[in-house]
Amino acid sequence: MHNTNPHKTARKRETIVNGLALLTIFIAAIWLNLLGESYYVNLVSRVVIFAIAGVGLNLALGYGGMVSLGHAAFFGLGAYVSGIAAFHFGDGSEFIAGFSGTNQMITIWVISIIVTAFFALIIGLISIRTTGVYFIMITLAFAQMIYYFALSWPTYGGEDGLLMLSRNQFPFLDSDNDIHFFALCFGLLIVSLFLTSRIMSARFGAALDVARMNEVRLATAGINPYPIKLTAFVFSAIIVGLAGALFADLNRFVSPDLLSWQMSGELIIFILLGGVGRLYGPVIGAALFVLLETFLGGYTDHWKLFLGLILLIIVLFAKGGLIQLLAGDKRHD
């Protein structure tokens, strides 16, 4: 048992880093709200929503090893579900087949789950059969399909996007109140982190891990990699879709940009900055991204040049992201 002590301290360090991350975000929001800085409160909500999206993608990419360049499809789909529901609710019109609009978040989330799961199933069924590079390009291609579709559909704004009159409603909260909305997002982040952590420590997670590390070992051990990966892909799409729905509410605006390859890239960046395959990687990564966007972006329009340089350095020299630097290697037990 001489190995357990280093294991335990490393795990403790990571837990502390994770806890601090959440605490910092929470306190920041409360404090900024007390100062009356609603713009900045929304900025913290933006961090939280990006974090949820990153947690979702991390399931497929970080844990499942499926490099998807098309997850913006799910982010955008969730956002459009939110936007379209609000749109039809606002003018009393119908969507299709008698479905009228709604402004209830819970209903919208259920619809988002169904829609994203459906598309993820189709895209997954075709792409997951393929290996490595093909998978990357195919997920990108499918997202592009949905992007171009949204771009040319004038009813919902097309290229200009869709404005929402107000945020959708959640029981007991006033979603137009920025700190209430933050609390809602934060709650969802906690839930998604908790669920991901449970899934990954259970039998499914063990299988998914090995599906990423060594598919041949998984199959030889008697577990078919394909359904495991497909399930992870669908779960990941659902979480990313919910993040998208929240994002639409945050900005009261949806546009095809949310479906673009650039958005897919940003989702991957959130994970990379924090640490690929680390539970709280996306949380820290999203925070770092928004900080750079806000403060570096304040100095220069070309802040993405520096983002690119930082990314390059991380990929080449510090693959584990910020969490690796703070809390050391990933533990597997």
């Binding site: 048992m1 190995n3 357990t4 449970r198 899934i199 420590s201 259970a202 039998r203 499914f204 997670g205 063990a206 299988a207 891990d209 090995v210 590390m213 060594n214 041949v216 070992r217 998984l218 199959a219 030889t220 051990a221 008697g222 577990i223 078919n224 990699p225 495991i228 399930t231 597997h332 037990d333």
Partner: protein, 247 residues
């Protein structure tokens, strides 16, 4: 017939003009170790790939007991009881030895679509894993990361993972490769005891072990089985001597 655990019937596989498997038939019976020998390039890897499910044969059938497994996936064949170890260790290197074994136990115990209960505290998995590791005398290394294990320990871990499937038959691909004499002796003894419970299809180059362990030996040459018999018959055969053991 109920004595035959694995039966290969008229298997054929070609890659364009290259005939890798040429009408191969053989079987493995209860309680025996049937060894396949043959020089490099004789088509052993292709044959194993077809038996385990990585390659689809052009024609022929593979039976595991009374079940036709020719069209089943690799994972399904493993679950049905076809255990196998690899010539080059194929393990999850970042995981501990125990975790590698737990994976096979998990599949053997049921579905992997379980999302709630943590496996690290699941005694049904950990206890059984420890039992198997102990049977192979590597329990001390249960928590060691696989990439920190020595070559010999990794070979033993591979066998442990195969055993964790509660297999009906074991397909061992050069398990002695790279082992020192002490480990080779240990593994040989282990396999001798094991064959009474689980028959073994062995692929090996180490001739001492082959002649010591085998009940039957088949010689594969250019994709064809040119001779099949007991170790004594093999030694006496001129066909084999010419083709394989050198003049």
């Amino acid at each position: 017939m109920t004595d035959t655990i694995l039966r290969i019937e008229a298997l054929n596989k070609s890659f364009g003009a290259l005939v890798a498997t040429d009408n191969v038939s053989f079987d493995v019976k209860k309680g025996e170790i049937h060894t396949l020998i043959g020089p490099n390039g004789s088509g052993k890897s292709t044959l194993i790939a077809q038996i385990t499910g990585w390659l689809k044969s052009d024609s022929g059938t593979i039976w595991l007991k009374s079940k036709n497994i020719s069209n089943l996936s690799v994972a399904k064949r493993s679950r049905l009881g076809l255990g196998r170890s690899f010539q080059v260790s194929c393990l999850a290197m970042e995981l501990s030895a125990r975790r590698n074994v737990m994976l096979a136990i998990q599949s053997q115990q049921g579905s992997s679509f379980r999302f709630w209960k943590a496996i690290s505290t699941d005694k049904k998995l950990t206890d059984e894993a420890d039992a198997i590791l102990s049977a192979l005398d590597i329990l001390d290394f249960a928590d060691t990361r696989t990439n920190e294990l020595s070559h010999g320990k990794r070979r033993e871990l591979e066998v442990a993972c195969a055993l964790a499937l509660k297999p009906k038959i074991l397909l061992l691909d050069e398990p002695m490769a790279g082992l020192d004499p002490a480990s080779t002796a240990g593994l040989t003894k282990f396999l001798e005891q094991l064959k009474t419970e689980i028959p073994i299809l062995l692929i090996e180059h180490d001739m001492d072990a082959v002649f010591r362990l085998s009940d039957r030996i088949s010689v594969l040459l250019y994709g064809k089985i040119v001779f099949s018999g007991t170790p004594d018959e093999i030694k006496a055969s001129s066909v084999v001597r010419e083709a394989y053991l050198g003049k």
